[in-house]
């Protein structure tokens, strides 16, 4: 089938997963953090740093999964720093997030200088398309070659959704996010839960970093992230703090991001800057459409302070 429309749709689908995977992990991580009532803009720094760390891990050890583990661990570490700084009195979450963003990125660029040239063992692909019967060399199969981390992300999303609703730990997180006073009354340490949630969120976001440097584009360099961590924060709001909706939001955003190159590849050239801006316009439009000043954003943890 060689129709341009089909080609673009296929590219958008493939792109949704390829480009969307880092968004998925970062938005899941941010979702967890925000459910506990803390906003972590520093995930951009976490993303960049864990991408570097993941690449370093895979390159130095020759094993991709060690790289992934290192990425998760370093993500957790940087996020822990954010959590600790925010626990201090009178520290503004957003300011701390921007500080961590700067710090994490700077550290990553500094330590990552020797990693720009080398190649590292990549995360394997799962040839879903071939399993489903499509011709392995054909474009349908190629579009459905999925990053092995993506199913992990889907599982995490599902687990998080279930865990937040049904486990005691999830209840604690939600309570701390909705009403710190009630949580304290019940004996939970508000700060402790928040720091734990932030750290766990950072670990999850770190997997997104590994996906960037070890799968797509699969290389470390200083222009790797162009605000993806920050956009993921927007995605969480637009997903109404529901982990499974974060998955759809990430796919939507990834697909929108793949639209520009896809259109050019079938000959629709010109306006590529505007097409590249489609994801941002889309997110803003959806936010404008769905938010309302009168009712509190449904699902927003009250302690978050993003509504007024």
């Amino acid at each position: 089938m060689d129709s341009p429309v089909f080609d673009v749709l296929l590219a958008v689908l493939g792109g949704a997963i390829r480009v969307g995977t880092p968004f998925l992990f970062v938005s899941l991580g941010e979702c967890l953090t925000e459910k506990a009532g803390r906003i972590n803009l520093g995930l951009e720094g976490v993303l960049v740093f864990s991408a570097m760390a993941g690449f370093a891990g895979s390159y130095l050890s020759g094993q991709w999964w060690l790289g992934v583990l290192l990425a998760g661990a370093s993500g957790a570490l940087i996020a822990l720093l954010h959590g600790l700084v925010c626990s201090l009195p009178r520290v503004n979450d957003i300011a701390a997030g921007i500080a961590i963003m700067l710090f994490g990125a700077g550290l990553a660029f500094y330590l990552g200088k020797p990693l720009i040239q080398p190649q590292a063992e990549q995360i394997p692909s799962l040839p879903i398309g071939a399993w489903l019967g499509a011709d392995p060399a054909g474009s349908v199969a190629q579009a459905l070659n999925i990053n092995a981390l993506f199913p992990a992300g889907v599982v995490i999303a599902a687990l998080m959704a279930w865990g937040l609703k049904n486990t005691g730990w999830g209840l604690k997180v939600r309570m701390v996010g909705d009403s710190a006073d009630a949580a304290r009354a019940l004996g939970s340490s508000v700060n402790g839960v928040r720091v734990a949630a932030t750290t766990a969120g950072g670990a999850i976001a770190g997997l997104g970093g590994a996906s960037l440097s070890l799968y797509f584009p699969g290389s470390w360099n200083e222009a790797l992230s162009s605000g993806q961590g920050l956009i993921a924060v927007a995605l969480v709001i637009f997903a109404r703090w529901h982990p499974v909706r974060c998955l759809w939001a990430a796919l939507l955003f990834g697909g929108a991001g793949a639209l520009g190159p896809a259109l050019q590849s079938v000959g629709v050239t010109g306006y590529y800057y505007l097409f590249n801006a489609v994801p941002y316009v889309l997110t803003l439009a959806i936010l404008v459409w769905t938010c309302s000043p009168r009712q509190a954003l449904q699902g927003a943890p009250s302690e978050l302070g993003v509504t007024h």
Binding site: D7, L10, A11, G14, G15, R18, V19, K113, I116, Q117, Q119, Q122, A137, S139, Q142, A143, L212, F216, P217, G218, S219, N221, E222, A223, L224, S226, G257, A258, G260, P261, A262, Q264, S265, V266, G267, T269, G270, Y272, Y273, N276
Partner: protein, 376 residues
């Protein structure tokens, strides 16, 4: 400055002679050359990105590294300098603080107004800009520009790609539609179409010089279309090379050799050989000769070169490419020859007209030739 110098510059043919002289200077026995160039000199090199990007900046850095080995030459470098006031301060700092008397600002955007501003204030210092269009009368004599006709090497890339492609569809990942990029796309396509006139090149513009996610996405999108040979013009070709190789396609490199990254997919590449230009300009500075203001050269003068062929490149492709290369080295091959139509059908070079590589008209190219799918 020197009247003899002015006369030299107005004769275009003698421009090539200057380049050839530089090439000849390299051929002089080493002892004679070093006796010639005794004055110690501090040279400053400024990069717009990281030095080891396997691409544009690395090509310059490799030449700078060679320069450092020459006795009496000290090199100070700064990387990731943006095209703002910052580069003016960097240049001034290299002059005032490090005592540099010859500067190589290597990014196109450094020329106007930054290099010109600093050059006006430091008349004793020489500035040699990569890629700029130094014009007699408009720009001061202590400035100059150098560049290579890498489109010749891209043409050869195209010839090899034309032979090796089975789908007859080629892909080009480009940053922005500026003349230097368009010239490369056109040369690549013309080279491929000289093998088979039915070949087409898809071009995707990512919008900026370093956008790894967009570059990877562009490569994937084109691979989905059945394109089987890629090349690129972005600052860091590593992503495109690796992504193409992962999709099982072939790739021709650019700026520097990326063969190491994808030995089973790398056909050949168009590389800079900046050491030729650098040596020419540094030697002129050390021996007190006038500053070469407008330095250009191609394969013949050693300003650019091709990467060695990958193992998979067939005999026919090699022979064809080597034939063309021989003609280029002898100066008897022209890439941009009339009648040439662009991809909207308009005639851009009329029949009978031949544009030589040194023709300034080529430096303001704004079209894509027939066979390229894309818009300039």
């Amino acid at each position: 400055m020197d009247p003899k110098h002015t006369a030299l510059m107005t004769q275009r043919r003698q421009l090539l002679a200057a380049g050839a002289l530089g090439g000849a200077a390299l051929a002089l026995p080493g002892a004679l050359r070093s006796a010639w160039a005794q004055a110690p000199i501090t040279v400053g090199v400024i990069y717009v990105g990281p030095r080891d990007d396997f691409g544009y900046n690395q090509a310059h850095a490799e030449a700078a590294a060679q320069l450092k080995k020459v006795a009496g030459v000290k090199v100070v470098e700064e990387e990731n300098v943006p095209e703002t006031q910052a580069v003016q301060k960097t240049m001034q700092g290299m002059i005032s603080q490090d005592g540099a008397t010859l500067l190589f600002p290597t990014s196109f955007g450094y020329f106007d107004p930054h290099l010109l501003a600093v050059a006006a204030k430091n008349e004793k210092v020489r500035f040699s800009h990569c890629g700029g269009l130094w014009t007699q009368g408009k720009h001061p004599a202590n400035t100059g520009s150098f560049f290579g006709y890498i489109d010749e090497a891209q043409y050869l890339n195209g010839v090899v790609a034309g032979h090796m492609s089975k789908s007859k569809k080629l892909g080009f990942v480009a940053a922005k539609p500026i003349p230097q990029v368009l010239r490369n796309i056109n040369a690549f396509t013309l080279g491929a179409r000289s093998v088979d006139p039915k070949i087409t090149t898809n071009v995707i513009f990512t919008g900026d010089w370093a956008m790894p996610v967009k570059e990877a996405e562009a490569t994937n999108a084109m691979a989905d279309q059945g394109i089987d040979v890629f090349t690129m013009h972005v600052d860091g070709p590593k992503v495109v090379v690796e992504t193409a190789a992962r999709r099982g396609r072939m790739v021709c490199g650019y700026h520097a050799s990326q063969a190491k990254l994808a030995p089973n997919a790398y056909l050949t590449g168009a590389e800079w050989n900046w050491l030729t230009a650098y040596t020419l300009i540094v030697d002129a500075a050390r021996t007190g000769k006038p500053h070469p203001n407008f330095v250009r050269g191609g394969l013949k003068e050693g300003f650019v070169k091709s990467s060695p062929y990958g193992a998979m490149v067939g005999e026919a492709a090699r022979k064809n490419a080597e034939d063309v290369r021989k003609k280029m080295m002898a100066g008897s091959f022209d890439i941009f020859v009339g009648e040439l139509k662009d991809n909207t059908g308009k005639v851009v070079i009329p029949k009978g007209k031949v544009l030589k590589q040194t023709d300034l008209e080529l430096e303001s190219m704004n079209y894509l030739v027939e066979g390229v799918i894309g818009k300039a």
